[in-house]
Amino acid sequence: MINIAVDGVSAAISPTLQKDLSLSGAFSLGQPAGASYIISGDGSGGSFHGLVKDRSSGVVLSKSYSGEPRAIAHQFADDVVQTITGHPGIANSTIAFVSTRTGRKEIYTADYDGSNVRQLTHDNGISVAPALSADGRRLAYTGYLSGYADIYLVDLASGRRERIVKFPGTNSGAAFSPDGGRIACTVSKDGNPELYVIGVNGQGAHRLTHTHGVESSPSWSPDGREIVYSSDETGSPRLFRIPSGGGDAQAVNTGFGFCTEPSWSPDGRKVAFTIRQGGFSIGVTDLGSGATRVVSPDGKDAVWGADSRHLIYCNGSSIVLLDSQTGRSIPIVTGLGNVSEPTWSR
């Protein structure tokens, strides 16, 4: 933990900024005396200039921001994290999830800390399996408006929606490629649920798997070359990785028998997934060493944030933000009925 102090930042920005810096997990916030870095800033809503100085008053970050106070605080917080730690922050990001608040499953979006909750879909049916693009501008989800499960693409700024995958059978579980140009998903038109990669315009569908089991929940490697997913071809569902352009699948050995819903970390080093052993728990496998550890004894559907350190997952009644290094967990979305299937922009 690096000692920092937030000093002389306006009341419109400071509370959000301090919360963001605290939630990053990288800092201990205290008084200026003894701090390695001093965070200050001029202005409030509309326009703001942020400054970070080191112990010898050297300026390490000086940058202007404009927009809503909360958005400014999130952007400044991420720049502070990046400047001091060298790693991306998670503050300026969007999450989405499924909630039963209305009595039906609909898709909602929110800031990473659970504020600004918005109901995105009003399908009054079953709207599930949301996936945000890395830039947070687009969301794909599974909807049953046609009577079958199809994949829809929503432009979040305009609200424009189109049905992009509508093959016979069930189309579900979209995941955006890191560049946002393609989705991986499960398609059953061939008579079995298989993994496909398809352009976000719905064109160029390419089948990746050929098994008798169920392939589901693809997640891309950060370079876009591989996809990790779950397959029950050999019994209970387990994790596999496969080249996104096609090729041989390779088992990801986690040591657990029932593993689903993997998420590949943005730094490429780890895969988080759901373990079913009686209840659900969250595991993380280090792809380099092969070591697996349980990072949360309950919860499911974990997904990595941009810092490859925090995860969000659901435990039924809440979405939880988990620091996978310290184990600190904070409920960020509560009181919205049953919540599930979180996704997180980077």
């Binding site: 046609s146 579900s172 061939d190 098994t211 169920v214 071809e233 088992a251 299937e341």
Partner: protein
Amino acid sequence: MVRLLIRCMKLSFLPAFAICTVLSLSSCALFKKNNGGEGGADGDYVTGTPLPERQEGTGFMSDNVNRSQFQPVYFGFDSFTVSDAELAKLDTVAGAMKRMPNNIIVAGFTDNRGTEEYNRGLGERRAEAVREALIGMGVNASRLQTVSFGADMPADPGDSEAAYAKNRRAEFGVVKK
């Protein structure tokens, strides 16, 4: 030479699967969950009978679909094997389909003890196992659609073994002419 071999395997595989389906559905476990560890492998073989084009505007929950004509087929935990005990239900459906012109949408469902997206895949796999069995009994593949609702439409919303058993199912939606 290798390509020729693969083609032969592909050809011989199909009848083998069909026979297996007709004679003993439970032996299909060999295919579904015990093929020697090549899970997810990109092999050059067929894994199911392709679905026909959808009839747009008609889905399993549509008003013009009769969902109560046939008994649901039930499954074991995390399984898409149609058990011998459930086979008589499929005989009934296959027999009726030979006498009536209607198409059927097979809908697959799961209990809530898996993760959501895996359950959607498992429900679809159950629907397609039922579809494949009906095809094996002589029903034309073009008359059978599938859809999965995963754990989202339980027959019994309870959290008991009895409820789970009722929810692991495939239902038949007869599309009215």
